[in-house]
């Protein structure tokens, strides 16, 4: 009798599990999605992977450390460490240095551009427009500042440069006030 009940139960749960596995199937690896959401999406490849998503996949499969993303900086490392329950580690200097300051965008000097389309092809977010032997231009609102297009990729020396975005009243930032004087406490 007991065997019969247990077999029956096993059968019912087996069917239920099988059904739910199909019904609530999760497409892709949710951890990759979550890591990818924390990465800055600069697509700069400074981490050693071709883009943010491949890097997220590498972290998820433990093929990469969490400190290889310079644009994400310390805040980014902290966010990924929190997600994965890992230790916060400082940014790996081999991958580059974090730039917390102004947003930089690529600017093409139309005087010197020879229309080679090299930058158009390499831009990971299609932010450069242009055709062969035509002047190219950067759509700055799409530019992630990945620096993939600047020399040595660009064959002209003074054509593409990284420039800080102009400060206006809409993107100007207040600075953190002076911290309390610790000595005065003692």
């Amino acid at each position: 009798m007991a065997i019969l009940i247990l077999t029956l139960l096993a059968l019912i749960f087996g069917i239920a599990l099988g059904y739910f596995a199909i019904r609530f199937r999760v497409e892709g690896d949710p951890v990759v999605e979550q890591i990818d959401a924390l990465l800055p999406q600069t697509q700069c490849a400074q981490c050693g992977f071709p883009g943010c998503r491949p890097y997220a996949e590498a972290i998820a499969t433990q093929n990469a450390e969490i400190n290889q993303c310079p644009p994400g900086g310390d805040d980014g490392i902290k966010a990924i460490a929190d997600l994965l329950g890992r230790e916060v580690v400082p940014l790996n200097p081999d991958n580059g240095t974090a730039n917390d300051n102004l947003r930089m965008v690529a600017v093409i000097n139309e005087e010197t551009c020879i229309g080679c389309t090299k930058c158009v092809q390499v831009c990971p977010v299609d932010a450069i427009v242009g055709a062969a032997k035509q002047k190219h231009n950067v759509i700055d609102e799409y530019c992630t500042g990945c620096e993939l297009c600047i020399p040595p990729l660009c064959p002209v020396e003074d054509c593409i440069q990284m420039q800080p975005v102009e400060v206006t009243i809409s993107n100007w930032k207040w600075s953190l006030p002076v911290q309390p004087n610790k000595e005065s406490v003692a």
Binding site: Q43, V125, W172, K173, L176
Partner: protein, 506 residues
């Protein structure tokens, strides 16, 4: 007597209002140069319609609003446009924006199109709104929201509030306006009543301005005697002097007991709030055809020789205004545009007076001892002073940590930056500076999130495209190969009988 409510928190602050006598208003000499920023309002900048070298006359539009939320800019005196370029605007950041610079000719000649007696009583509401828009009128209480947009609100308005509270210390320009141009304010309100058709209409004035209250009551009585019956619906209501009772949300609470919802606008609770100066400016635009070219400005503070109220042309550099008030007393001073609580420190004196400028405060530089900041002792004084029922001490910690989620949870965006918390803080922590810092950090964070989301999609699309191109190339290759094979097979077939023949022949 109308029932009044109270708002939570707030402070009784020393007024310092007698320093700049609001009973009279002085003129100042026309400056050599006028600098007109193209964005003096909330919204998109106006677009210039004059060129360098053009002669312009007083009241002539020099930049017009093209988008919905924007306001035109007019030449405030006659002269020649010498430059259209970037100049420092009155903003804490000290950044530059596009401005039109006019070298004045001292003739102050009006543009011939400016005409009075436009028969205001026969204008329909559409036409009234259009003229208010053309005149470049914005809210003169400080928020500088284009008035025409505000007045087009379609919802039923129960209460029209005319804000004459002027709750910040030192500032008396609205007081001066009410005392000297009470009739204009009342006529403006009558126009607004025609536009909005509110059930009640209140002029709210803090009870520390009895002369202004009197002046408006006398004016209303005068209109009543003239047989203009509609003024009877206007109530002048004295309200207790508690900072920041002049804040829109606080004033609505005091007068109606209603609370404006978060991220909401007053018209959602059936209220529209306009400054007394806006009302007078609307009157001038409709009755005289005069656009917004000047405003009353208080020049005050311990470091200025002769504090007073002035009628200042929009675009006059601060330097010329202070000169008209006798200049500074010594060289240890700082200039604040606005009041001591919510004003902005100016980096230099070549910055122009704009539509929002109500006060130029020339202050003593704070001594170092006063600026000595101590750690937070969690006394909670800031929380009881906050007029928005926020918890400044919590926001302070989260602002330092940049915990955006926590800041949102504690409603940082509701902070009106009135400065009450910083005034009561026994540790002299500059709380408002922290909140401004946190707000701009949060804004940047939101921008970055948006940018990264956009980049993710764009990168994904690019990958899809590259893959598609690769796939198509392969397909083409395969197709060509198949075609080649087919051709070959066909030619083989054609040659096969031949081969067979050859074979048989062989």
């Amino acid at each position: 007597m109308k029932k009044l409510w109270t708002f939570k928190g707030g402070l009784k602050l020393p007024g310092f209002k007698k320093i700049s006598n609001p009973a009279s208003v002085n003129k100042i000499p026309i400056p050599d140069n006028i600098i007109l920023p193209l964005r003096q309002h909330i919204g998109e900048p106006a677009e210039p319609i004059v060129d360098v070298g053009d002669q312009v006359y007083k009241g002539q539009p020099v930049a017009i609003s093209k988008s919905l939320i924007s306001a035109s800019v007019h030449a405030s005196t006659s002269g020649i446009v010498t430059d259209i370029g970037k100049y420092t605007i009155p903003h804490q950041s000290g950044v530059s924006e596009m401005c039109i610079v006019i070298k004045t000719d001292q003739k102050d000649q009006w543009h011939p199109n400016i005409e009075s007696n436009l028969d205001p009583d026969n204008l329909d509401t559409e036409e009234l709104c259009a003229r208010i828009r053309e005149a470049g009128i914005v809210g003169l209480g400080g928020a500088v929201f284009p008035s025409a947009v505000k007045l087009k609100a379609t919802r039923q308005i129960d209460t029209l509030i005319i804000n004459g509270a002027e709750c910040e210390p030192y500032i008396t320009c609205d007081d001066a306006l009410m005392q000297n141009r009470a009739d204009d304010v009342v006529q403006g309100i009558l126009l607004l009543r025609r536009l909005l058709n509110p059930a009640e209409c209140i002029i709210a004035i803090e009870d520390n301005k009895p002369q202004a209250i009197d002046a408006l009551q006398v004016s209303i009585k005068k209109f009543k005697e003239k047989g203009i019956g509609s003024v009877a619906a206007i109530d002048v209501i004295p309200i207790p002097t508690i900072f920041p009772t002049g804040g829109e949300k606080q004033l609505i609470k005091v007068l109606t007991g209603k609370e404006v919802p978060r991220n909401g606008l007053p018209y959602e609770v059936g209220v529209i709030c306009l400054n007394v100066g806006t009302s007078a400016a609307i009157r001038n635009a409709i009755y005289e055809g005069i656009p917004l070219v000047s405003r009353y400005v208080t020049v005050t503070g311990v470091m200025v020789q002769r504090p007073a109220n002035f009628e200042v042309l929009i675009g006059t550099p601060v330097q010329d205004v202070i000169k008209a008030a006798g200049g500074e007393k010594s060289d240890r001073y700082e200039i604040i545009m606005g009041g001591p609580m919510m004003g902005q420190l100016l980096p230099h004196q070549q910055i122009p007076v704009v539509k929002a400028t109500n006060c130029i405060l020339v202050q003593d530089i704070k001594s170092e001892n006063e600026a000595n900041v101590m750690p937070c002792i969690r006394c909670g004084s800031c929380a009881s002073a906050c007029p928005m029922s926020l918890l400044p001490q919590q926001l302070y910690w989260y602002a330092k940590e940049k915990s955006f989620q926590k800041l949102q949870h504690y409603n940082l965006s509701d902070c009106i930056e009135c400065g009450c918390c910083a005034v009561v803080c026994p540790s002299r922590i500059p709380l408002v500076q922290y909140f401004r810092f946190a707000k701009s950090e949060q804004r940047e964070h939101e921008f970055k999130t948006k940018l990264s989301e956009q980049s993710r999609i764009r990168a994904q699309m690019r990958d899809f495209r590259l893959e598609r191109i690769k796939r198509e190339q392969q397909e083409r290759k395969a197709r060509r190969k198949a075609e080649r094979l087919k051709k070959k097979a066909a030619s083989d077939k054609a040659s096969k009988p031949l081969a067979d023949k050859e074979l048989s022949a062989g």
